[in-house]
Symmetry: C2
Subunit: 376 residues, 2 copies
Amino acid sequence: MNLESLNTPAALIDVARMQHNIERMQQRMNALGVRFRPHVKTTKCEQVVQAQMNAGARGITVSTLKEAEQFFASGIRDIVYAVGIAPTKLQQALALRRQGCDLKIVADSVACAEAIVAFGREHEEAFEVWIEIDVDGHRSGIVPDDDTLLDVATTLCNGGVHLGGVLAHAGSSYDYDAHDALVHIAEQERSGCVRAAERLRAAGLRCDVVSIGSTPTALTAEHLEGVTEVRAGVYVMFDLVMHNVGVNETSEIALSVLTTVIGHQKEKGWAVVDAGWMAMSRDRGTQRQKRDFGYGLVCHEDGSVLDGYLMSGANQEHGIVSRCGAPDHEIDQRFPIGTRLRILPNHACATGAQHPAYHAVGADGQIETWPRFYGW
Amino acid sequence: MNLESLNTPAALIDVARMQHNIERMQQRMNALGVRFRPHVKTTKCEQVVQAQMNAGARGITVSTLKEAEQFFASGIRDIVYAVGIAPTKLQQALALRRQGCDLKIVADSVACAEAIVAFGREHEEAFEVWIEIDVDGHRSGIVPDDDTLLDVATTLCNGGVHLGGVLAHAGSSYDYDAHDALVHIAEQERSGCVRAAERLRAAGLRCDVVSIGSTPTALTAEHLEGVTEVRAGVYVMFDLVMHNVGVNETSEIALSVLTTVIGHQKEKGWAVVDAGWMAMSRDRGTQRQKRDFGYGLVCHEDGSVLDGYLMSGANQEHGIVSRCGAPDHEIDQRFPIGTRLRILPNHACATGAQHPAYHAVGADGQIETWPRFYGW
């Protein structure tokens, strides 16, 4: 199978770029002296995750219990489900643990801790729980100096639960685009999570794991003292949002969508392509960043950037490709019907999720189909 | 199976609302004296489409050839693929026709028409082609008075292709929210497409089908003289974008996402739920409308609207529910951990696509699983 034989739209992975991204992150983590636990929500693809494990990753992070089930079935035992668990999902978590999965779950409230304790007692299961720490006001978690931290920890420990550690994610790092600001938010993530661990230890509690991470902070942190492991997801593919943040070149983006030109509106300078938002996702993450890439940056079929051409609009199965600035009234000559283009996505996690499989393009141009799953 | 037994997040269809929406549209089309051809891209779900056919629909519209293949396999022969065909997809279209599918394809350029003629000659297949008409500058198609219309038609007819008709979609109707403006764009869609058909007939060519439609124009057109059929998709579920356009009440929205509260940030007035953008989609279609619903409007578990609460933010598997205006500092009491809520979506086509199946909730509260497919 090669590029010409693919139906469009199709999600392509440039395997050489992916491998470069995996090695860049793993080497950095090795140099910083921490374990690396990739977040598999980005690809939900066995072949990609296997490449991450082969490079030295230790365990995985998941965003759904379905991911835990699928990757445990493919042989990975050490899994953290990094979303605060709904009490109704404890049965599903229990089933995984009973099958031998070393599943860690997360809580950030006394109510959730109490539910885990009660369920654990009823089923005679000592769950391992990590407490989520809020280091940047972005989403979930307990502020390191909030007394709730100790309340949750003692609820868990007194209830026979194994308090495994603390976990934080500086999601607000996506909002910055200057190196100094990223270094600052990375240090805030590190120091906040370490502070929480120290408070637990000062209260006489064990806290072995200090787990932090996001792609921008993982790639800019100057040191990771007190941290035991880092989590990151999107780095494996990179995308235009991360390019705007400043952590990758467009030439490092491993995911693209192959599409075919199906029409033109010459007066407007539009080429219409057969990849719309169903293929790209509705993610407009670059809208508020320093450069708005519309629905994606246009490349030649070989993956080289056609600078100045964006997917400027998208309907479900139609994309509009146009030149930035003055309309290209010769676009029908430049990209005749049948022309194949590749589109670099705003957000690799969102774009990948629209596709049942990736088409992995090797250095020799040969293509393998790498399935991915979705749902809950 | 009932609501309590569902894992979250889950896409729910309120079957009574869906049936109401189907009957409303079909009765209107019957009264206007046109055939109705639903666009199945909204749900890609056999049970939903069967309900549309049972109510009187004649044939279906698809946005991908995969939809054509799946629904042909389930017994529907009369199918129009309403996206200008890429020449490389002609083999797939041919295979469907050879199996007995009455598949119509679409073109809006001489180059595409020539490709269809050449492929048809090579394979001795007289494809049926509908010419796409641009009635509002929204996307694809040929302006009714453009000479390209006749060039495309004669290319097809001289090449042994069956010119079946003309087709238009006033996608810009989504941009309006006043009844008079909708009536105007509906008339523009009707008259533009009829004008194109008349020009073809004046040139001595047959043009049996005059196919138009979008949910807003189908529900506001005052008459459909000269039109033979209407296409619409999202009406079967409706959503918040259509509510802002003014064609449905929130109480008519048949699709919602069931979610569970997993945490709080009390100071900010946030409840964190286990449906994020993966469950809702990244569609922010209400962002530029008269009311911005964030990622969705919050309802009680029974589907009644909790007016004033929105999903104001979303990460991949986390949603943030908050009150419009002043923060609700008692949100942890109002929606304790484990509370189930339903979220009405901005865009039913985009939200449905994130889910492997719908959970169809009958009037008796019993739930059936209705699979849906994705990909190309």
